[in-house]
């Protein structure tokens, strides 16, 4: 059965800290992996990753994919209270025409 697992489930840090969120997957036919930030209702798209070793970067956020070891990480440097959210990853499995979501990581950044 295809599955996506995120760790840790929750995390509390102080402003200025750097955090690393993990997303591992076991799927039959990987195509792409997405990262989202969810603050209130709707997840906001952050990154799409399809190739190993190519870092995607946006401001203080960056992400990389390892297709050999079947995981991705999302790094947030110099965290701010506005980074407090649930971070979701999702994997597209070819042939199923849908994304499978992980459980999410709840990040809380304290001032």
């Amino acid at each position: 059965e295809d599955k996506v697992v995120q760790s840790p489930l929750s995390l509390v840090v102080h402003e200025g800290d750097t955090v690393t969120l993990n997303c591992s997957y076991e799927v039959t036919n990987f195509r792409s992996l997405l990262w989202y930030k969810q603050e209130k209702k709707a997840p906001t798209f952050l990154f799409m990753l399809t190739s190993s070793g190519i870092e995607k970067k946006s401001g203080r956020l960056s992400s990389i994919l390892d297709k050999k070891e079947l995981f991705s990480i999302l790094n947030i440097t110099a965290t701010q209270t506005g980074d407090s959210a649930i971070y979701l990853c999702a994997v597209w499995v070819s042939g199923t025409y849908k994304y499978i979501f992980g459980t999410g990581t709840r990040l809380k950044v304290l001032a």
């Binding site: 997405l34 209702k41 709707a42 798209f45 799409m48 025409y97 849908k98």
Partner: protein, 114 residues
């Protein structure tokens, strides 16, 4: 990217009633989905809304409870029927863009059933 609108934004409904949620996209997309997110949980896919044919439901979701319409490539509705308090959730529509296969979400509908 895709711009998606959804309405209502929130609603409080009595058990036994039904609510229809609308989803409008600013461009034609083939793949449109409906998700549910119960309190404290991750996203659960309800169904894929297929244009011109019946929706494809995930395990645990049935058409009688969650009928879906997709009359064209920019619009879909999800109805939550005969609601119970367990249906209290955020309901989200999403689309996957062609070629890039990026998935975008509408703003969501927060449903509370009393």
């Amino acid at each position: 990217s895709a711009v998606i609108s959804q309405k209502p934004s929130r609603d409080i409904c009595q058990r036994g009633t039904s609510l229809t949620i609308q989803c409008q996209v600013d461009s034609q997309v083939t793949m449109m989905f409906w998700y549910r997110q119960q309190p404290g949980q991750s996203l659960t896919l309800i169904a894929t809304a297929n244009q011109g044919s019946e929706a494809t439901y995930e395990s645990g979701f049935v058409i009688d409870k969650f009928p879906i319409s997709r009359p064209n490539l920019t619009f879909s509705t999800l109805t939550v029927s005969n609601m119970s308090p367990e249906d209290s959730s955020i309901y989200l529509c999403s689309v996957v863009t062609p070629y890039l296969w990026e998935q975008y979400f509408g703003p969501g509908t927060r449903l509370t059933v009393t």
